[in-house]
Symmetry: C2
């Protein structure tokens, strides 16, 4: 079966839109998400613009603060002001940052309930105890797809150990009773491990790398990769090879990526609800 | 080979003692660890007393604040005062707390650099990005034993998914290039998975549960369990059965437990060094 991300994303977009509309009407607020970009990385600009576009569809005012360059101290001051500003309901720092700024140190200054990206250490640690109010959007997207298509929890192999994908996803899957194996570039015998798990999540950044030798007829394959080659976008999974054998597979594009783009706003909404509940706005 | 925890712990005790002595002499401070106990759980009292004893050996003043009962608000106020008190260098909340108090919500009020237990969400999330300044002591103890006995990183199976053991240990092992599988009570075919990994860490709370059918001649077995039955202490691993077959095994007692008791003070020392570096004391 093709696990179509567009369907998952569009259903979630409708729910988010309706919930945000309700909040705007009930509380008379104009929800705002503040994006912070340092430098001029072109991919980062594209992502920021797509967030502005999607946010607008949802009734969220997504604003971009761009710095050509900025010191750590000044950036932290800017974030602390945004934390204290009750008109700003979410804050995202676009990556990459220039080498002079450590991404984790920067984002750890964001109040946990405004951490739309889910990348603060506090929110990551919260996942340990099943508090999933805010979680990295890519990890949430993988879970959304599995749940939407009612894949039975079982054994999952994640080929990725980053703080953006592999680690938080492992926490979300453990919270749903999956047995989870985290693999990476140093893993020996990765094919055997991949085949022994009924869910295989791949985020390795190598176009078309995973072929049918990594799967069985029972595999559900979730392709997190987004690789650009000219105008062509491909995943980390060789779709033609794997889709002939595996039970389920996500396409690229139209799979995890579009659900991730939507799940950012799930974080935003959950943070907004928390701010309302705690009378912070 | 018997992986003797006493050797690991005693070597670490010597290092900690010497480092703390150096700090006391150089900065003229009297390091203090504040234990907070609510209620009268007898096991909790035993653990608190053993920390006081071990701390004294290390030149640390371990003090116990006992409340028969206390509200969340009052307890948070007490912790915030201790955070602000520069004479207190570490804070630990003894578990269990009464049902009216949520352990995670309570400890998340501790400043990360005074979080001797390593249980704040912030420090747990920090492990994602390889910042191991403070980590849950049991997870650190398992790694210490593996490293002391020079076990080659490979594939590790952890039977436990808690925030105290399984999840932080997975992070520490990933940081050391292990491929990690987290299993738990809902895992199917746990014996196969256990046998396929050269390191097996067990923390299930069932005395003598794991027998030789879970291991191979290549297995290194780390037994985190501490089960009391009358005066007898046993682990989760049936030592007689498994030690005949496995390559390496930790005993209980004298294995992970004694290293854990020491590693609490590794957290304390690392937090103390941070407080000195950041001129907080």
């Amino acid at each position: 079966m093709l696990l179509d991300g567009k369907v998952v994303a569009s259903e979630k977009m409708e729910r988010l839109k309706s919930e945000i509309k309700g909040i705007i009407e009930k509380y008379g607020i104009e929800p705002e998400l503040k994006l912070i970009q340092v430098g001029n990385d072109p991919a980062s600009t594209i992502y920021a613009n797509s967030k502005i576009k999607r946010g607008t569809k949802l009734g969220i005012n997504v604003t971009l603060e761009k710095f050509d360059n900025i010191t750590m101290g000044k950036l932290v001051d800017y974030i602390k002001d945004a934390n204290a500003n009750s008109r700003i309901n979410g804050i995202m720092v676009e990556s990459p940052l220039p080498p002079s700024l450590n991404f984790q140190e920067v984002v750890d200054n964001i109040s946990f309930y405004k951490d739309t990206d889910g990348m603060t250490s506090f929110n990551q640690g919260n996942l340990y105890t099943k508090n999933e109010m805010i979680a990295p959007a890519t990890a949430r997207a993988v879970v959304d797809i599995l749940e939407y298509y009612k894949i039975q929890p079982g054994n999952a192999c994640i080929i990725n150990r980053s703080a953006v994908v592999g680690r938080p996803l492992a926490m979300l899957l453990l919270n749903r009773d999956y047995t989870v194996t985290l693999c990476h570039s140093k893993t020996v015998d990765i094919k055997r491990i991949a085949r022994e798990n009924n869910v295989l999540v791949v985020a390795i950044g190598k176009p078309d790398y995973i072929d049918e030798s990594y799967v069985t007829s029972e595999s559900t394959v979730i392709d997190v990769g987004i690789n650009y080659s000219g105008n062509k976008i491909s995943g980390d999974v060789n779709f033609d090879s794997v889709s002939n054998k595996a039970k389920n597979i996500t396409p690229v594009p139209g799979g995890v990526g579009i659900v991730t783009a939507t799940d950012i706003f799930e974080n935003f909404l959950n943070g907004l609800k928390y701010q309302i509940k705690e009378k912070l706005i």
